[in-house]
C-alpha cells in the first residue's frame, strides 16, 4: 500500500476530525473520570477527580449481583440479535427481490410501524404479553395467568425483529443486481440457497450494521425489561444500574458512572471489531465466471 501524501486537504481533514473528536468524546471521558471521584466531589462539576478512587468500580459492582445482570443482558442481546439477523434479513431480501404483489405497500407498512412511539404502546403491549395463550398459567384464551411476564420470552421476543432492521436490510439488498439470482437459479440453486449463499454474503456491511444497532439497543434496553420483569434472576444491566439513581435527588454519581462505563465497554469493543469489517469490503461476486 502506497503511503498517501500529506496534502493540505488532508491536514484540514485531520484537524477537523480531531476537533470533532474532542466534542464527541467529551461526555465519555467525563463519565470515566466521574467514576473515579468520591461522592462528595460531585457536588460541583469538575473534570479531574481529586484522587483516583479505582475502588468505586469494585464497590459499584458489589452493590448488587451485577455479574448476573451482565449475563442476563448478554442472553437478552444474543437472543434478540440472532432473531433479528435471521428474520429481518429474510424479510428485507423478500421485500427487495421477491416478486411479491404489494411489496411497496408492505414496506410502507413497516415504516408506519416504526413511527409509533414506544411510550404509547407500552400498556397494550404489556397486556398482550401477559395474555399469551398457554403460557404462565394462561388458558387457551390467554386468561387467568401471567403469560410471558417475568420470563425470557417477554424479554427477547417482543423487541426483536423490529421493522427498522427489515427496512435497513431491504435497502441494502435492493442495491444488488438480480442477475446474480437468475444465474444461480439457472445453476439449480433454490430460493433459500440464493438468499443464503449468494445474496447475503454480498451485504456483509449491512449485517454488521444491523448487528451493531440491534446489539446496542438490546444491551441498553431499560424501560421494557423494567415493566415486564420483577425478579432479580432476569434483571438486565440497565435496570440494575438504576439502583444508583433510585432517588432522582440523591443520585450516586460515582457508582452510576462506574457501572455505566463498565456497561459501555463491551459495546465499544464490539464496535472496534465491527468497523474493521466495514473496510474488508465485499467479496467479489465472481460474476465474470
Amino acid at each position: 500500500m502506497v503511503k498517501t501524501k500529506l496534502t493540505p486537504g488532508r491536514v484540514v481533514l485531520y484537524v477537523v476530525l480531531s476537533l470533532g473528536s474532542l466534542l464527541m468524546v467529551g461526555p465519555f471521558i467525563w463519565m470515566i473520570l466521574t467514576a473515579l471521584k468520591s461522592t462528595g466531589e460531585v457536588g460541583t462539576f469538575t473534570w479531574l477527580p481529586r484522587e483516583f478512587h479505582w475502588s468505586n468500580f469494585v464497590e459499584a459492582m458489589d452493590a448488587a449481583p451485577f455479574l448476573r445482570y451482565f449475563w442476563n443482558s448478554l442472553v437478552l442481546t444474543v437472543g434478540q440479535t440472532a432473531l433479528t439477523l435471521i428474520f429481518c434479513t429474510m424479510a428485507g431480501y423478500a421485500l427487495a427481490k421477491a416478486p411479491i404483489r404489494g411489496a411497496k405497500g408492505i414496506l410502507n407498512y413497516f415504516i408506519a410501524l416504526m413511527m409509533v412511539p414506544f411510550q404509547i404502546i407500552l400498556v397494550p403491549m404489556f397486556l398482550l404479553v401477559k395474555s399469551i395463550p398457554l403460557f404462565g398459567g394462561n388458558d387457551i384464551l390467554g386468561m387467568g395467568g401471567t403469560g410471558w411476564l417475568n420470563t425470557w420470552w417477554a424479554l427477547i421476543i417482543p423487541l426483536a425483529i423490529a421493522p427498522l432492521y427489515t427496512f435497513l436490510a431491504r435497502q441494502f439488498y435492493v442495491t444488488l443486481p438480480s442477475e446474480l439470482a437468475d444465474a444461480a437459479r439457472v445453476d439449480g440453486l433454490g430460493e433459500f440457497g440464493i438468499f443464503f449463499r449468494i445474496m447475503t454474503p454480498l451485504v456483509k456491511p449491512a449485517l454488521v450494521t444491523i448487528g451493531v444497532f440491534q446489539i446496542e439497543a438490546a444491551w441498553n434496553s431499560f424501560l421494557w425489561p423494567l415493566i415486564v420483569t420483577n425478579s432479580d434472576e432476569l434483571r438486565p444491566l440497565q435496570v440494575g444500574l438504576a439502583i444508583f439513581s433510585q432517588d432522582p435527588l440523591n443520585v450516586q454519581w460515582p457508582y452510576l458512572m462506574a457501572g455505566a462505563t463498565l456497561a459501555t465497554l463491551p459495546m465499544i469493543i464490539l464496535f472496534i471489531f465491527a468497523q474493521k469489517r466495514f473496510v474488508e469490503g465485499m467479496a467479489s461476486a465472481g460474476l465474470k465466471g
Partner: protein, 425 residues
Amino acid sequence: MARRRAGFLALAVAGTLALGACGSGGTSTAPASNPAEVTGTLRVLVPSYPASNEGKAELEKVVASFKAKYPQVTVEPDFATFDTLNQKISTSIAGGQGYDVLVTGIGWVPPFAAKNVFEDLSTFGATAESLGESTNPALVPASEYKGKVYAVPLIAGPKPLALRKSLFEKAGLDPSKPPTTMADIKTAAEKLTVKDGAGNITQAGFDFWAAPGGYRQDFVALLGSLGKPLYNTNGEAEFAGSEGVETLEWMKSMVNNVQKYGAQNAAKSPLVNTGEAAMGFTGGYIDCSDKGVGPAVCDDLVYFNLEDKEGSMFTGGQLASVGKSSKLKAAAWDFIQELSKPEAEAGIATLNFAVPAGKDAADSAVVKSNPASTFVAANLADAKFEGGAANWLDLRGTFGTSLDDALLGKKSAEETLKALEQQSK
C-alpha cells in the same frame, strides 16, 4: 379479503382492552381472622428499597418479621425507580394485576385515591387521629383525601433553609439571627449578592435550588409561611388568594435580582452547600465526612426555617398504601404495619437520606448522623406539602411552568394563579 381483515383487527383491538379487564390475581383465601392460615402471594411495590444488596437486605428484615405472622404467604417484591413508578403502577392496573402494597410519594395520594387505586384505610380502623399516635402528626395530612386516610407515612424528605456563617459575617450580617420572613430574607439576600464587573452574579444572595419548572416546591414553602397550604383538606385551592399573589410577586422580585432564573450548578446540588450562594434552600441530609462536603462546610452551615405567620418547611416523603384490587388486604395492612415500625422506618430513611416519619425519629441513627437531618427531624411540625388536588400529578408540571411564566414576567402573578386554580380538580 379487506373486510375480513378489518373484522379481525377490530376483534384484536377490542380483545386487547378486554384483556385488561381480566384480573389474574394471586390465589388467596379470604379469612381476615387467622393470619397463620392465609395463603397467597403478596405483591409489594416499595421503591424505597433499591434493588441493591443493601436494599434487599433491609427489605428481607421486614419480610422476615412479616412472615413470622403470616408463614404461608409469599412476598414478591417488585422494583421501580421513582421516575418509572407511574409506568409500573399503571401497567399493573391496566393488566388487572394491581399490587397489594404500594409506596408512593407525597402528593400522589389524592389522585390515586380518587382513581380507586388505594384502599380506604378506615377499613382497618385507621383514622387521622389513630395515625397521629405513631406517626408524626404533622405528616398525617399528606395521607388524607376528602377526610379519609389512604396511606401511612414512612419517611419524610424535608427541604430546610441554610446559610453560610462566613459569608454572612463578610457582608456584615449576624448569622445567629437568620432572616425568617420573606421581607427579611430579601433584605439580607440583596446585601449578600456579589456581582462581577460585567454585572453577572457570582454569589447568589438566595438560592432557590430550582431548575426551570422547579420553583413550585419553593412556592409551597413560602406560601406556607404565610399560613396557607396549596389545597385544603377538601381539595380546594388556597393558593390563588392574596397570600399566593404576595408570595409569587416576592419570588419574582428575587429572581434575576439575587439569583438568576434557573441558576444551578451542573451537578444540581444546593448552592449554599457548595458555597455558590450565601443562603438558600437545601436538602435534609448532608454528608459531613471527607467523602462528602467536609467538616469545614458543615460547621459553616446554619439551618433555619421560614417563619412568618407560621413556621414552614417544604417536605416530601414516602407513604405506603394498600391496593384496592388486592385480594390480601388484611395481610397487606399488616405488611405496612411492619414497614412503619421504627427499625424498618429507620432502615428506609438511611437508604433514602431522609427522616423516619415516626414520632421517635429524633432517636434514629440517620437523624443523629448529620446536622441537616437533626434539624429537620426536630422541625417536622412545620412540614408543608405539595399536592392535595385529585389531578395533582397531571397539574404539577403545568404548575411549575406557569410559575415560571410569572417569574419571567410573561404573565402577572394574579393571572397565573387564577388560571391554575381553574385547572385544579
